[in-house]
Symmetry: C2
Subunit: 395 residues, 2 copies
Amino acid sequence: MPLQLEVLATAGAARRGRLVTPHGVIETPAFMPVGTLGAVKGVHPRELAAAGASVMLSNLYHLALRPGIDTIERLGGLHAFTGWPGPILTDSGGFQVFSLDSLRKVDDGGVTFRSHLDGSALRFTPEGVVSFQERMGVDIAMVLDECPPWPIDEARAADSWRRTLEWARRARAAWTGRSGGGLFGIVQGSAFRPLRERAALELAELGFDGHAIGGVSVGEPDADRRAVVEWTAPLLPADRPRYLMGVGFPKDILHAVAHGVDLFDCVLPARNARHGTLFTRDGVLKIKNAKHKEDPRPVDAECGCPSCAPGPHQVSRAFLHHLTRSGELTAAVLATLHNLRFYLDFMAEIRQAITLGTFTDLADRFATRSAGGYPPGEPGFGLPVTSNPLEPRSS
Amino acid sequence: MPLQLEVLATAGAARRGRLVTPHGVIETPAFMPVGTLGAVKGVHPRELAAAGASVMLSNLYHLALRPGIDTIERLGGLHAFTGWPGPILTDSGGFQVFSLDSLRKVDDGGVTFRSHLDGSALRFTPEGVVSFQERMGVDIAMVLDECPPWPIDEARAADSWRRTLEWARRARAAWTGRSGGGLFGIVQGSAFRPLRERAALELAELGFDGHAIGGVSVGEPDADRRAVVEWTAPLLPADRPRYLMGVGFPKDILHAVAHGVDLFDCVLPARNARHGTLFTRDGVLKIKNAKHKEDPRPVDAECGCPSCAPGPHQVSRAFLHHLTRSGELTAAVLATLHNLRFYLDFMAEIRQAITLGTFTDLADRFATRSAGGYPPGEPGFGLPVTSNPLEPRSS
């Protein structure tokens, strides 16, 4: 197998592992910062590494449109092109089937996108998507899937899954492994338990190098997202990495880790940063609020990002408030570096807690410390206080 | 004197010095990156230091509007507020008399601005401006001056200078020195030689800690700007720093250094970066041009910025082209760090050349290497090839 997952410790279903890829080791559970076009918005790849990232996610659809796969291949592949020498996972374009639904047409053979840039047609087939990713030399390639909208009825979800499964077979057959990386299958099935369970089992038969839970973060309630994780994760092969796509808030990550998920990605830390929402160990902080105007404290005294770290260049909440209110580019950059560091530190804490046998304590501590309301309207950072992340809920 | 200038070496009128300020030493000739609102756009103060900056320029007018001097004072001054622990120079608002001419009214007592943010009135007087800067604790404060527009007739330029001189006297009298920094006077007089010469001599009588040449970079032809420097700089006291405000291109800096100027500031490297214009040792590079699409080379192989420095995170012209074409925030950040580093390295080269006695060679080398056209339409990076920077031109 091209990707080796070594499980170093467990806590219930949660596991702390090392995923060996052609471009380095991913310590799991891991968060993959999103560099849609090859770089996290506002962040130099050197700074991304300094923040503690071990793997970057990039997007095949966007890269195929611009600069194009041919260009990336001629420049030596995606690692050489982006200046990110570590592991890279590319999304297949399946999420764009959902997010760009007015610009695409799905048939049994694949997806035809109309470029959001110039209207030109771009054909994605299961085989083509595999080939694109192999030519870019990515460490983890994703199969083309159909990410259905929310809500959808069970019959349509089942039809959609049949097509995605067929695409998965074709992708698996087309995969040559010549780039040295691995290919992941994607479980769909909306929030229908029988469908998700069948999907997980069917996919597991195909011999993928890892498995993803897709079709979440598409507008579904938290409870449905969690149910999908609880139904699906245990049925995915335990010797291979499990990846929950596009999720999410720290509390969702904590929940999914407790159910055996190893990999995560989300635009949330970077996007929220650009809107002035900063993550801290005590909950979120809206830096534009007037109460921060003269607050000399760093955003989070326990954070090691360039803005929070003690030393001559530490910056205050007051300064970030000022820059954000002024609409300065600097505000977006500093906030992004902060939120990324927060997420990456959070994953490091999770890994350590699994190793030390204190994972339950960690979940409790997050729920308690951030009880000021995170995300807004929810009781805390961690899980609802009535739930135990180590006990899968009944459904 | 609160500011000590030690001249370590000279080459004709050019000098290599050390300017000791309350917050550290400025190695001169120095370029001061512009952090109008307290930070260079897109750059963390730690990165600014890493790029080699020893002093930052900030803007009193903008800071007085937002967040306000009271706030900055309560937060411990401008250094604590911005996370920039090194020397800071603040512009007085005099340039905004020029650049915001529809929003201000000048009388003999001072300037009344109408805030560009909310229309509220803000009164700047010579004494008030000194007090603002002392309260912020800056290392180098500038007097309030009237920066006249271009072109202007000699009589109006002379009237304007009389007012600016009177303001300079009042500022000098108001200056307490309690912040430990120094106060600079500003020579005006448009491009009229008798006026500039008289202004320099009159100002030199007032005992300022340094002297600036203002009223340039307001739309005048290159030749006029150079003439102003050549007339004025030699008349300013040699034992104190000389500062050419708002200038400019590397060739202009080289010219002014040759005439004894020590300090420079300009938004050019950062603003041009945001528009995809990158400085290199071989001239400027418009990164959006199609010819860079598949160019695997760094922007400048001799540059030490995060993007150009050899190593695993080096990024290519092709990648910067891609990010710039895509309108990514990352493009602005990477390009700004590059251009700042270019300017700061350029100043370091100038300092070394003066010390080693090779300043003339440096000027020649720049003129030759960048002869591909920099800035557009001009013969090169350095001076016009018919001129010798060490020989003041006749006028």
